[in-house]
Symmetry: C2
Subunit: 209 residues, 2 copies
DNA sequence: TTCTATTAATCAAACGATTGATTAATTTTG
DNA sequence: CAAAATTAATCAATCGTTTGATTAATAGAA
């Protein structure tokens, strides 16, 4: 029935997302993906048209969820700009830790100079999140709450990049931190609160007068 | 003659490094690499044995150079720990901006869970650089120059990650910054000094009491 | 209900194209 | 000349995709 079909498609998307994150888009053969998902190879084309269609479907699913999550922290009234930054860091950290396979896949695609439709879709999604944060910082600078010589763009690079380094170079960060970052329990219990606290302190020192 | 042979091999390594950075290892066919380099396809195997051998040769060439660059800022006498951090940021920024194709390729490989020899070689190279910086920070904490609650590992993630975000997601960062980050002139004249100044201020605020 | 049509889902097999690699022949070099 | 460098042609393997057939599920007509 209809529900089971959706479940199966969702299952394939889950598996493909993980495999793409692990070995990259070009490194992931349709045979590997289908065998990992426990489905016949032809089902990928049957459901998603092509390998690239599968990739697009993964992005479509996540972006649909993200639109709700990124929304209007910046427009909340009656709280300081720093509190907005604080909330943004919380929301952002939660989001990326709960979708770390997708995040890893996302930045692998961003690193590659490919053609067409997907790049635009990714860029649009990223810029939405970026501009939300940018607006918060800019408001804080304009209102005098934050330092005037704040480098907003590089601060964004720090926010996104610090997390990327941890999650997207697991070989290195696991050695650095002393525990396996692929382990979701370590991620949730150890790394997530640590990263939140670190980012808040770092940005607080950099932004506030 | 011997010199020309080395030149040709070096030329192939240059081109392959760029192509790997642009489309990833799996996305770069030997035919594409050889045509971009203007050599016959068989020359890749003739010189480097295999496609993976070519990748290894790229790493071997860069690591040989890096061993000289990473050396002993930490053991310099008679300067403060902060001055060491200052110098490290300078040296690090210079290094990554002058090898941004290699850097991009490096982190694409680090993101992928692959087998064997290369991963160990990459990890060793990275940890050498990481530990050098870690030692500087740790000395500063122990001597009382830096704050005691410094999160060294996440600070490393910030240092490396901020730069990675700028250089490895050119689509996004070019929009953010308002100019093309692939343009080496923009990189050297605009971004490099800006990133240096930003990182120094950020780390200064975070580290110093 | 029971029999028949229709549709969706699934499969093994095969397709043409491309992959990385190798061969054997040729050219260049010393 | 002999050795090294370079080439076009070719190799088996794997790639993403398509095929035709089969099963399972649903709907319609009696």
């Amino acid at each position: 029935m209809e529900k089971e079909k959706t479940d199966k498609k969702d299952h394939i998307l889950d598996v493909a997302e993980r495999v793409f994150a692990e070995v990259g888009f070009d490194g992931a053969s349709t045979r590997l993906i289908s065998s990992e998902a426990g489905v016949n190879m032809a089902m990928l084309n049957y459901y998603f048209g092509s390998k690239e269609g599968l990739l697009l479907a993964i992005f479509a699913r996540r972006t649909a969820v993200f639109k709700d999550l990124v929304k209007n922290i910046g427009t909340t009234e009656n709280i300081s700009c720093w509190d907005k930054v604080d909330r943004y860091i919380d929301a952002y950290t939660e989001r990326v830790f709960n979708n770390n396979c997708f995040q890893k896949m996302l930045y692998q695609e961003l690193a590659i100079t490919r053609k067409g439709e997907l790049t635009d879709k990714i860029t649009e999604m990223m810029m939405g999140s970026v501009n939300e944060f940018k607006k918060i910082i800019q408001d804080g600078v304009n209102s005098g709450e934050f330092k005037t010589d704040t480098d907003v763009e590089l601060l964004i690079a720090t926010l996104y990049g610090s997390k990327n380094f941890i999650l997207n170079t697991p070989h290195i960060s696991s050695i650095m931190l002393g525990y396996e970052v692929h382990n979701q329990e370590n991620l949730d219990n150890k790394l997530k609160p640590r990263l939140k606290a670190y980012l808040k302190k770092l940005l607080n020192l950099y932004l506030l007068k």
